[in-house]
């Protein structure tokens, strides 16, 4: 390794460290928007010696001008920075001209093309023909195998998206990659959650700054190539512990080319969706499409030939759908008081009523791009694109019919500017990319009447209780009704039970803007070292500045949840959840009053006030939390592709990253209730060193095979949700209302506390309820970061081989192992009173000892004589800080007691690729994998909680029990086959048949209960070890594509096509209801189904009882506990046309 170059690049990175203005975040901007070509020119007349000094010229419709290089003394050549496309090589040697066409260049790939010319032959050379002054054409195709790197994955071109039935956007087709699968927020790669992927479009990082994952998206017609890298990537890529999706949009050319296209998916061509029946409930639903259509056009061409090209595109996409909300009644024909079941064990129902809930979505995709060539060695590109969307969407069905919808606007806008210069006969290349990404989401009530507190009944009751909200609970034809009572036909049962019914309001909503400004500069230098081979050094510096500005609020300012019904002996209680903000720190006098008084409210707090900061401050209800946060980060890398031998390459690299997260702007410099001043910088992740080692060996020496291996470390880019939620001032207060459940005969009975649905002024009454008790607060506005905490990273080991079994076709076999040795999560060591962000399972005893000493020093500085000293000479603020520091030391000591994170992914992949030609394509893969551990990734695969690095996964030690097992993305068998073939009907046109087949194991399911800790609840308690319940079945799906194209002219073709998705209308289960109970219960460590019936529940105040939990009647049935789809989408047909010119 060239140590001077290494030091130079690393120095730049280090200088821009914590004390520099150049630090930034998410430094994933990449310059890999092109491919490379290398090979050897041999002269047959010189016994196949290398043809030194030959001129190699690469030309393509994708390339402005041409790229010219000379072969070296060994006849070797190398051309970098080639836009993807089909190239022709023209070789000038010994007064002769040779041509080799059909060389396909793909982004991020290095193709080896060796050409043998014959400087002596008069008539032929290399199989071609020669005449005086003519070009000798050499036939052949470029090898399909990338000899330049150890990357694994797939590259998808226009041929794929045109002829294979796929989703409409690049974000929808990346699931083609071997081993990938859908998760509830996107596409999972190699066992990681989708938020761990990095999405690069036109060289800039377009991933969501808030949560990771997909933000910018474009229709396939605008895309030149999509490279899905699932592993083995070198140091130029970083900030991802999943995969890299590298997308290049189409460019113009010297000819005007484009297309007009349209897609239409009528609802009439969609098979009826199975109703997902929910046991124990009376409201079911089915989602139905009315129609989806999009119409678009894209055009590219020259502004100045060979100098300035343009490409533009626009594609509005409209979807109209509806959800059928069905109310059904249980029946009890035999009058035994137990609802009747059918032969499959499902509760029988009688139809009561239905209603339709319309939904509509409009997305406006657009792209624009300018490519300019100052000359062959200096090129510039400006690109802008976006995907803004407006939506009127379903919010939920188990709620007031007037509140089932909500509205939101979201999407993204991007601008990218790229400059490429070459020097030194192409051996030196400088690339610079500057970009700006804006993602946004504005959630809002569908109507102003929804902007009221959400009222939520967290227990089973009769839907008829809400007859005033439900318009039709009696079937006019059959008379079947939800009303219970003595005249009821089924008097012994509750006709229409409903759990978790929401009476009004939408609960939590967010308005956010996520910006990222990024810049990257790279230098590539190819160096010959004689006998030691060739080095291609590449170094780069990446800078990013990201923001996440968020407004969080509850509609109406609060959520009111009733936890239980009145019974013969007890009254139901309410929980009031509100955002609060620091109002004041307690004075010394107030602290004394608080410490010495037995009065339940010694400070005279009003109902919108509460104690916070462990009783050191007063917080007051806040209508919303506004958190404007930013991150800065830097990344630098140096890598060397060392071609030791023509057929053996070592890929060596190292990457340095740093991430600095800032507290919300409004909080910086303020004093917390704990007496601390909020720093500007919330956290700094330093010294994120990522080594990468790999090798590629070509046993054929012709680029037709490779054996490769790779080991690398990949640090996570910590999404900024952590800034907003942990350093944005968020404090949620929980109060229990009707805490003492005073009987009506009690002199202190407060009727405002003992209210239920039907009270015309329920919210106001609860607001005045004086029988309230604090359940505590979640979040402290600013969370504590454990000193010495480290970045989250994945280690990866890959071994593989590829072999070209025939022209354009290769087979591959890979083994992949990924682990996750270190995670960042928030934890609490004191039952949820205080949290710190740390590396669970690591030992921080050394840091704890330092805090002990700081605490002691603060105490000495306080001048206090004891911990309860109240004399005037005692500085209570310093005394408080001393106590706080001591408590943090104790927390740090407990971090090591948390389970170490585990996420082990082991996979064997078999792949087969027939490169897309004009006539056919095959992409097939089979992956066998095992994914086990206790940590799924950046979101909870069970509850759907998407709070990267601050999920509830590690919050409390008792939440960790039973979490080890088959993870939520563990699907052992994953088969994918995509293919198309074009039948040339000559003058009658072209007929294309394409298909896509998928077979995928179901996931192992869990047995979940509710955690007894306030603020957690349903789905957080693993009653049995992870994955203890049976898996969902293997699902299969066949999609087909049929197209007929007719050439209107030599360059114009009109094509009509039909895509049939899920041809056999398989609507098998994808997910299950994993909530065994909604009651509070602790896990049965290592338990099995036989133990379940003995599980006891806690009461709603956390006290243990001798009553078993009430089993969720829907447990184990098709459904969803995490918000994901329950069933495969039904068969649907898409019609379309495409006019290309």
């Amino acid at each position: 390794m060239n140590t001077k170059l290494f030091k130079a690049f690393m120095a730049v990175g280090l200088l821009a460290g914590p004390s520099s203005l150049l630090h930034s975040t998410d430094a994933s901007a990449q310059t890999v928007t092109a491919g490379a070509l290398r090979g050897e020119i041999k002269d047959k007349a010189a016994n196949n010696e290398g043809a030194a000094g030959a001129t190699v010229v690469a030309t393509s419709a994708s390339l402005q001008g041409e790229q010219v290089v000379l072969t070296d003394e060994k006849g070797l050549y190398f051309i970098n920075a080639l836009p993807p496309g089909i190239y022709t090589l023209t070789i000038y040697y010994s007064d002769r001209t040779f041509s080799r066409g059909n060389v396909q260049i793909q982004i991020g790939k290095e193709v080896v093309v060796n050409v043998t010319v014959d400087s002596a032959a008069k008539q032929s050379g290399g199989g071609g023909k020669e005449g005086k002054g003519e070009i000798i054409e050499i036939q052949g195709s470029a090898p399909i195998i990338d000899q330049g790197s150890t990357k694994i994955g797939v590259t998808l071109t226009d041929d794929y998206t045109r002829n294979i039935p796929t989703a409409r956007t690049f974000g929808g087709v990346i699931g083609q990659a071997a081993g990938s699968q859908g998760d509830i927020y996107g596409t999972s790669i190699a066992g990681a959650t989708s938020g761990e992927n990095t999405y690069i479009v036109e060289g800039i990082n377009t991933s969501d700054t808030g949560f990771g994952g997909l933000s910018s998206n474009l229709p396939n017609e605008f895309i030149q190539e999509t490279e899905v890298i699932t592993g083995g990537y070198n140091a130029e890529y970083g900030r991802a512990t999943g995969g890299i999706i590298n997308v290049v949009t189409k460019s113009g050319s010297n000819e005007f080319k484009g297309s007009v296209f349209g897609y239409y998916k009528p609802g009439a061509f969609v098979s009826g969706a199975k109703t997902v029946q929910r046991e124990g409930g009376s409201i079911d639903s089915a989602n139905n499409l009315n129609y989806n259509y999009d119409l678009g056009a894209e055009l590219g061409g020259p502004i100045i030939k060979d100098k300035l090209w343009f490409h533009v595109g626009v594609n509005p996409n409209v979807t109209q759908a509806h959800t059928t909300r069905i109310v059904q009644s249980q029946i009890d024909e035999n009058g035994d008081g137990v609802p009747d079941k059918d032969s499959k064990g499902f509760t029988k129902h009688e139809f009561v009523s239905r209603s339709e809930i319309p939904e509509n979505f409009k997305t406006y995709y657009f792209t624009g791009k300018i490519n300019g060539a100052i000359n062959a060695n200096n090129q510039v590109q400006l690109s802008a694109f976006g995907n803004p969307r407006t939506a009127k969407d379903l919010n939920g069905i188990t709620r007031n019919p007037a509140d089932t919808r909500w509205a939101y606007d979201d999407g993204a806008y991007d601008v990218s500017l790229k400059w490429t210069s070459k020097f030194n006969e192409g051996k030196t290349e400088v690339d610079a990319v500057a970009g700006y990404h804006r993602g946004f989401t504005t959630e809002k009530p569908y109507s102003s009447s929804q902007n009221v507190p959400e009222i939520f009944y967290n227990y089973e009751r009769s839907l008829n209780d809400f007859a005033d909200l439900e318009n039709n609970l009696t079937n006019a034809t059959t008379g079947q009704s939800c009303a219970d009572g003595p005249t009821d036909k089924y008097a012994k049962i509750r006709n229409c039970p409903v759990t978790a019914y929401r009476e009004q309001g939408l609960g939590f909503l967010e308005e956010r803007v996520n910006d990222r400004a990024s810049g990257i500069i790279t230098l590539t230098q190819r160096i010959s070292t004689g006998a030691a081979g060739y080095h291609t050094f590449k170094g780069g510096l990446e800078l990013e500045s990201s923001t996440y500005n968020a407004k969080h609020y509850y509609t109406g300012g609060e959520i009111l949840r009733r936890n239980a019904a009145d019974t013969m002996t007890t009254q139901g209680r309410w929980q009031e959840r509100t955002f609060v903000a620091y109002q004041s720190t307690l004075t010394a006098e107030q602290r004394m009053t608080l410490a010495n008084s037995t009065d339940p409210n010694p400070l005279g707090l009003t109902n919108d006030q509460n104690l916070c900061s462990a009783g050191r401050a007063i917080c007051k209800r806040a209508a919303s939390i506004q958190a404007d946060t930013k991150n800065r980060s830097i990344g630098s890398f140096l890598q060397d592709s060392w071609q030791v031998l023509p057929n053996f390459t070592l890929d060596l690299g190292v990457r340095y990253e740093q991430q600095v997260g800032y507290a919300a702007t409004a909080l910086q410099g303020t004093v917390t209730g704990d007496g601390e001043t909020v720093p500007d910088r919330a956290f700094t992740l330093n010294n994120l060193w990522s080594p990468r080692l790999g090798f590629v060996y070509d046993p054929t020496s012709e680029g037709k095979a490779k054996i490769f291996g790779h080991w690398g470390r990949f640090y996570e880019n910590v999404p900024m949700d952590l800034n907003v939620r942990a350093f944005g001032g968020e404090i949620i207060n929980f109060n229990v209302l009707n805490a003492k459940r005073r009987p009506t005969t009690d002199a202190m009975y407060d009727p405002n506390c003992h209210v239920d649905h039907g009270n015309p002024d329920l919210v106001s009454a609860l607001g005045q309820c004086n029988d309230r008790a604090s359940q505590g607060t979640a979040g402290g506005g600013i969370e504590y970061i454990s000193p010495g905490f480290r970045g989250q990273y994945t280690d990866e080991l890959i071994f593989g081989t590829e072999y070209e079994i025939m022209a354009d076709m290769k087979l591959g076999l890979n083994y992949i192992h990924r682990s996750l040795p270190n995670v960042i999560e928030d934890i609490s060591t004191d039952g949820g009173t205080n949290y710190l962000i740390t590396n669970p399972g690591n030992n921080f005893d050394g840091e704890a000892t330092k805090l002990d000493q700081q605490s002691a020093q603060l105490f000495r500085d306080s001048g206090c004589k004891s911990l309860d000293d109240t004399t005037a000479s005692c500085n209570l603020d310093k005394l408080g800080l001393s106590a706080l520091t001591e408590s943090r030391a104790n927390q740090l000591r407990a971090v090591k007691k948390f389970d170490k994170p585990v996420r082990n992914y082991d996979a064997v992949q078999l792949t087969s690729t027939l490169r897309a030609t004009k006539q056919s394509l095959i992409l097939a893969s089979y992956t066998y994998s095992v994914s086990k551990g206790n940590y799924p990734g950046l979101f909870s695969t069970e509850t759907g909680q998407n709070d990267p690095n601050i999920t509830s996964l590690y919050d409390l030690p008792d939440l960790m029990a039973n979490r080890y097992g088959n993870l939520g993305l563990d699907r052992p068998h994953n088969l994918k086959v995509d293919a198309f073939y074009v039948f040339d009907l000559k003058k009658a046109g072209l007929l294309t048949a394409g298909g896509s087949f998928r077979a995928l194991s179901g996931i192992a399911h869990n047995v979940l209960g509710a955690s007894p800790h306030p603020g957690y609840g349903v789905g957080e308690s693993y009653l049995l070890p992870r994955g203890a319940a049976p898996r969902s079945p293997v699902t299969t799906q066949l999609d087909v594509h049929l197209a007929y194209g007719y050439p209107l002219s030599k360059t114009t073709k009109l094509e009509a096509f039909v895509n049939i998705f899920n041809l056999f209308n398989k609507q098998d289960e994808l997910n299950q209801d994993e909530d065994y109970t909604n009651d509070f219960a602790n896990p049965i460590v290592g338990g099995d189904m036989n133990d379940l019936k003995h599980v006891k529940h806690f009461d709603d105040a956390g006290g243990n009882t001798n009553t078993t939990v009430l089993k969720n009647k829907n447990f184990g049935n098709t459904g969803s506990s995490n918000g994901g789809a329950s069933l495969q989408a039904p068969r649907n047909v898409q019609l379309g046309f495409r006019l290309t010119f």
Partner: protein, 331 residues
């Protein structure tokens, strides 16, 4: 067997270990409790048996340290005590019988309560006498959950039948408590002499209504029909407090010691049925009244006497220096 805990919290929330298995890292240490605090069950030092950690703060250096005191539970709540036996693995759940809960309409609720009064997995003795008990099996929990688990919850059917201050033992029946492979609890984990020991708190005065007068010049104002209620931490035997042990006087002002007129007290079981309390009234009060309206009373106890619970446990009553109750029955 990892630990045995006994309820000794007057708030009936926290349990304290009376046995901790030494040398086993799976035994409970710090757990988060429902009140949002952390609670130390067994010491972090695995070599230590059950005991209590207390924080020692050195004001000179500002440093904290921990002081450990070995010992089992000696202050179980007489009226609410129970025993929780925590295991290091799941046991055969057949130790528990489940009985379905029927609601007030006679409809099964699909929930069950657990019982061990028939399977009798332990021998519970207090003062050497078998104590009838019931309880349940909780398979949930581990060393960091609250409550810890898996565990057997063992509660006397009538805790007041056991005398305060009584020494109690729990003995595991190896033929009833077995793991899922039918292995019994290892003999070396069965406690000293095969039993786990603890004792109940002594009988203690816990309060009165009206309460102790903070200012003897400002008597409380009470309803003449309301007796003075004296409360204890155990089921009090009203006959154990005789009239001559109670000094009840009518006074002009309570702060004038000895200046009152003695009246005869009447001591009876609490009229509201609280077994932990007894009532004291003026024998001269009119019918349906406890005291003569308009009069101011001073009540103290004669020093050096004791009271008993209904099971025979004894305890002292407050001295006049500790408790003087002064009140005026409203006219």
């Amino acid at each position: 067997m990892l630990s045995v805990l006994v309820m000794n919290d007057p708030g009936l929330t926290l349990e304290q270990a009376t046995f901790c298995k030494t040398g086993d890292p799976k035994r409970p240490a710090v757990v988060g409790t429902p009140d949002g605090l952390a609670h130390q069950i067994c010491d972090d030092d695995l070599s230590r048996p059950a005991g209590v950690d207390s924080d020692v703060f050195d004001a000179m250096t500002g440093l904290h340290s921990t002081k450990f005191t070995a010992g089992g539970v000696s202050d179980a709540i007489p009226t609410g005590w129970y025993v929780r036996v925590m295991f290091d693995e799941l046991i055969n759940p057949d130790v528990e019988e489940l009985v379905e809960v029927i609601d007030d309409k006679g409809v099964p609720t699909d929930t069950f309560t657990g019982h061990i009064n028939n399977t009798k997995p332990v021998v519970l003795k207090c003062g050497g006498v078998d104590v009838p008990y019931d309880g349940y099996y909780s398979p949930s929990g581990n060393a960091v959950t609250w409550p810890v688990g898996p565990s057997l919850y063992i509660a006397p059917i009538d805790p007041t039948s056991v005398a305060t201050s009584a020494s109690c033992t729990v003995e595991i029946k190896p033929d009833v408590i077995v793991d899922k492979d039918n292995n019994p609890v290892p003999t070396d984990e069965l406690g000293t002499g095969g039993t786990y020991t603890f004792s109940l708190a002594g009988l203690q005065f816990t309060g009165s209504s009206p309460g102790a007068s903070a200012d003897l010049t400002m008597p409380d104002v009470t309803d003449p029909a309301a007796p003075v209620v004296i409360s204890f931490n155990g089921a009090i035997d009203p006959t154990s407090l005789s009239a001559n042990e109670v000094k009840l006087e009518t006074v002009a002002t309570c702060d004038q010691a000895g200046a009152g007129t003695a009246v005869t007290p009447v001591i009876a079981a609490n009229a509201d049925g609280d077994p932990l309390s007894l009532d004291i009234a003026d024998a001269a009060a009119p019918a349906m009244k406890a005291f003569v309206a308009g009069k101011t009373y001073r009540l103290t106890f004669v020093d050096g006497n004791s009271v008993s619970d209904i099971a025979g446990g004894t305890g002292t009553i407050p001295t006049a220096a500790d408790l003087t109750i002064c009140f005026t029955a409203t006219p």
